[in-house]
């Protein structure tokens, strides 16, 4: 009953120390606040803001995706717990936020891509896939008995119109971008991305830029260890989504670390410290 919900909300609100609390209108996604906000959706976005950064860039010959995957234990096998997934041959997805929620999105995206191919005999176009993913996210913001997804996904697609990048957020909003980022280092990443001329880059160059941005964004969470995941769909990979070849990865990591050293170093003489 409404009275008991309000009573419960008041006591739980008193326990919060954050300033942007809903005070009784934030218990379910099925409730608007008086100023027209759905707090559960905003809280879901917070789940993304506290997690590893994901970055995507559209280049002239493809799309590059990168994720700062925080490592919670030294005993974790390298390469496990991936945050980048293939949706179809021509489409890949990188996530920031709760990776387990992202896996549900990936499953749905894969099913949509498969069903489009089965019905129409062609690769699902990026804008169709993007709309399906956005709609799927949105459904979970309508009802009180489910919660919104706590992840943002960057979807890179190379379809018959060329390379495309989309980002879908917990609210269900999903736009097309030339470059975008999600997660803790989003602001830093967006600032750096705006300065790049992404349309003139090749994927090899963009891979390095993505790595640099993620290494720099990681400074926000310096105390935790991380692994960079880098993937692309480009002419070089025959328009198939895959993790970048080892040499491209090593080169990108090396240059990213060197760029950090350059920034940190105040000396005129810079040593290219290759680790």
């Amino acid at each position: 009953s409404p009275t008991s919900a309000r009573h419960h909300a008041r006591t739980s609100a008193q326990r919060h120390t954050m300033s942007s609390i809903g005070t009784g209108y934030d218990l379910s996604a099925g409730t608007f606040s008086p100023d027209g906000r759905v707090f559960q959706v905003e809280y879901a976005a917070k789940a993304v803001e506290n997690r590893g950064t994901a970055v995507g860039i559209v280049c002239k010959d493809g799309v590059v995706l990168g994720v700062e995957k925080l490592i919670l234990s030294k005993m974790l096998m390298e390469g496990s717990n991936k945050h980048i997934f293939s949706v179809d041959e021509h489409a890949g997805l990188a996530c920031s936020g709760l990776v387990t929620d992202a896996r549900q999105i990936v499953n749905r995206a894969r099913a949509e891509a498969r069903s489009h191919r089965s019905a129409y005999g062609e690769d699902i176009p990026g804008r169709v896939l993007n709309e399906r993913i956005g709609s799927f996210y949105h459904v979970y913001t309508l009802y009180g008995h489910v919660r919104p997804f706590g992840c943002s996904v960057l979807v890179g697609v190379y379809d018959c119109d060329g390379p495309k990048l989309y980002m879908a957020e917990p609210s269900g909003v999903s736009y097309e971008y030339t470059a975008c980022a999600a997660g803790k280092g989003r602001q830093i990443a967006m600032t750096k991305l705006e300065k790049l001329k992404v349309g003139e880059m090749t994927c090899r160059e963009a891979a390095v830029e993505v790595a640099k941005i993620i290494y720099e964004a990681h400074q926000e969470m310096k105390d935790k260890d991380f692994e960079l995941e880098l993937s692309w769909i480009c002419d070089e990979s025959n328009k198939v989504h895959c993790f970048v070849p080892q040499d491209v990865y090593d080169d990108a990591v090396q240059k990213a670390k060197a760029a950090l050293e350059e920034d940190d170093s105040e000396d005129e003489d810079e040593d290219e410290d290759v680790e």
Partner: protein, 236 residues
Amino acid sequence: MSRLASNSFVAAGPEAPCFGLDATPATGADEVKTGTTIMAVEFDGGVVVGADSRTSTGGYVANRVSNKITPVTEHIYCCRSGSAADTQAISDYVRYYMDMYENTSGEEPEVKVAAHLFRSLCYNNKDNLMAGIICAGWDKRNGGSVYSIPIGGAVVKQPFTIGGSGSGFIYGYCDANYRANMTRDECAQFVKNAISLAMSRDGSSGGVIRIAVIDKDGVHREVVYGNQLPQFHDSY
């Protein structure tokens, strides 16, 4: 929603009106001669599709001016041979799916998508259908394309293709006279000649020749009446 010219028949039993291939009823009675000649040719920038206009039930011509060329989208048409009911139902489904596709993706589908849908329907329901379809049209990525979907539900892309009972009489003519890279008008004349020859030899094909030329600007339809058909010999 159908934009077909109405062939208003009730299709039932072995005497069902069809245009297409011969059908022998299980009773072993006289063959039900059904017939059609359909054709499509690709040129740089579009396709020309053509068909005769005879629908026969046994020896009776039920419709001598029927329209066997049916729109699926603005730039994709299909030529229908076989059972009228089956091909009308299939093309209605494909038109519906293409409409959905255009609504959700914001773009007109490519010819190969329409051909894929025709093939899915024809193959998955092969036990219950008698339909030989030619799907041809124009899309901005591939230009003109012609796909043949014969009975059974195979799909094959070809520079030109012929179908229906009348086609058997003109394979030689077509093979001898087709050239790659013909212009639009040469293709149209090729189609008119071939269908005219088929109509003069196949009892189940006749009437007028209907032509549709499809390019980026849309469709231009033409009719060649009986007294204007290309002639190949004055007296015989």
